[in-house]
Symmetry: none
Subunit: 415 residues, 2 copies
Amino acid sequence: MKAEIINIGDELLIGQVINSNASWLGEQLNKIGVEVKQVSVISDQHYQILETLKDAEKRADIILITGGLGPTKDDITKQTLCDFFNTKLIFHQPTYEDVEKLFHSRGLKVKEINRRQAEIPENCIPIRNTNGTAPGMWFEKDGKIIVSMPGVPYEMKPMITDFVIPKLVRQFDTHIIYHKTILTQGMGESSITEIINEWENNLPANFKLAYLPQPGIVRLRLTATGDNLIMIREEVENQVRELQRIIPDLIFGYDNDKLEEIIGRLMKDKGLSLATAESCTGGYIAHLITSVPGSSVYFTGSVIAYSNKIKETVLGVKEETLKQYGAVSKQTVVEMAEGIKKLYGTDYAIAVSGIAGPEGGTPQKPVGTTWIAISSSHKTHAQKFLFGEHRGRNIRKAAVTALNELRKVLTRETL
Amino acid sequence: MKAEIINIGDELLIGQVINSNASWLGEQLNKIGVEVKQVSVISDQHYQILETLKDAEKRADIILITGGLGPTKDDITKQTLCDFFNTKLIFHQPTYEDVEKLFHSRGLKVKEINRRQAEIPENCIPIRNTNGTAPGMWFEKDGKIIVSMPGVPYEMKPMITDFVIPKLVRQFDTHIIYHKTILTQGMGESSITEIINEWENNLPANFKLAYLPQPGIVRLRLTATGDNLIMIREEVENQVRELQRIIPDLIFGYDNDKLEEIIGRLMKDKGLSLATAESCTGGYIAHLITSVPGSSVYFTGSVIAYSNKIKETVLGVKEETLKQYGAVSKQTVVEMAEGIKKLYGTDYAIAVSGIAGPEGGTPQKPVGTTWIAISSSHKTHAQKFLFGEHRGRNIRKAAVTALNELRKVLTRETL
């Protein structure tokens, strides 16, 4: 099965938006054994869309199109698809009702221009848009599949995972590609590769390993191919177990696991509560924790003490501590953690104080120096980390490291 | 001048690497008035590279190719280019000396496999690689330019900025494309298009308008083409001034402006200070504010009061207020704003309380209901918003709306 992706939108050609849709789509198709042979990025022009479609049709069995479905004048994909399939737009009542529902839920009236969102080519199967107004469209022509979807990722992605992928799997017998991603925290790519070198070299021929680093996290994607899903899955699980024996401390989860969700489950299960006291992370840890639905059950809140005065007056860090050791020190971060735990009355607390940069570094405490404390009813322990030079990445690294330190403490203490 | 970009590499097709090269190249070419008409991402296969090149040659004046130049077996671009131009590889001594120098500087010896990096097609002008071993290659054929470069961004980028762009500018009289992006907050795409409909319809024929929505923000990208930069710039500025007259309240900035940076500049200029009291946004507003380098000058910190108890004990919201009006109410959010302003001793404060979802909605206060208060020394005013159903987007929408409300107050009060 060969696929091609066509991304429509001038914003992709002039460099205003990076084409993340193509790589995401490639990944999803890959998982079900469909090989993406080509990606074409083109502008919102009738002639070019038509020509690109015709070329892709000659080469591919499946064509996924994103973009150009908005209600405004610059979006012409729908009309072009009608010309390609030699059909016309019809008004689709169920789609219109979805649009109406969405507008009403926001207290708005449907305008004439939005009515046009419910017009679809006569020969398509509409795909519901659960996060917007423009429906996706599934076409079949001479045994080939052509799907057109909005370019906005959060509108397009559910269409792929809930509709397109299941329908493709049902319609075609695809070769099996099995992925498992092992999530690690606490060590860089090149250090990990040294430690797991022997294991990696001994992987069977149908296995492939990829290193996918993010700030503070390295994901190891293990891919195996074959014909029998049950056998492949077992082979992969065996290799993962082997890897767990080699780097048990680094692995915090698998596939789409998120540290903030893992922590959430641990706290919920044990009926525990949590607060954070943040300086250099500026609320980013609290943001990650509260991005999890239902986090209000265990997360009480946070004090962001960006100024030293607030560390003293609100969190109760002693004036002498700040004077003697400075804001970025073991002593201060421990007092921050114990201060917030007391003020918010929680079981656990995270405190972080560091120099995110670009300013504020000294030879003794260069940019990236960060103290992280985890406090529980048992004790408070603090650790020093040296991240990099980039402000945004330092904030992210400090946040994921803090969450992982809390996870380790929770796992130990609540066994 | 029309250009096409060809990116070669399987890693781009299976979604392992996001194709950031294409958008970066598009931006660079755009700046010198070269319009990118198409981007093609293909795999390292002789036939596919050849076919894609032949197609692109029919449509474009300039073709930029990245990838497939490594020393390993899977990289076949160089041989394919020889076939395309009907020429052969020759050994290029100066390139070999560059390779040698690079290896010696790293304390390494040149291996036989790296010797091959100095082989280039006979008809090309080599482009020095200052950050790696594979040289770039500049070809000319029937008045068209074809450039092949490594796929590694830090090897490719200097070739473009130091060699390709200057040479293109010297060789061609390029046509000018001028972009200006107008950033709006507070209204959806379909409502804006209704209001600016007449202005949009009256845009000159050399103008194009695109709507680029993000959670809480709609960017309007105005593009004009022509021969004279000064004239085009003036035409665009005139149209933007006209638009400002139509939607003055919605526009908060231009091009790469960010709300948190605009606020930062306003506060710094006037020597003002700021704190936030956040409930449903869970620290995201503080995170945006502190993502700006130097924000510690005006940002004191935040209290994230996820639980009602903290709203009372730390922020000083009255028990009766919470009981009578609930946490998501005008009264509560006003007391939160005034409470944090007093506790942190700042000039301004933002407070937000809402129902981010997915749980917690009621018929009277559905998911998405959000109260935002801005407090200054003059007064505290609060406003109710109804966002959508998606937790992550509600948090983002509430945050950018709150920042924009603060910007409006700052602009009014500090005129």
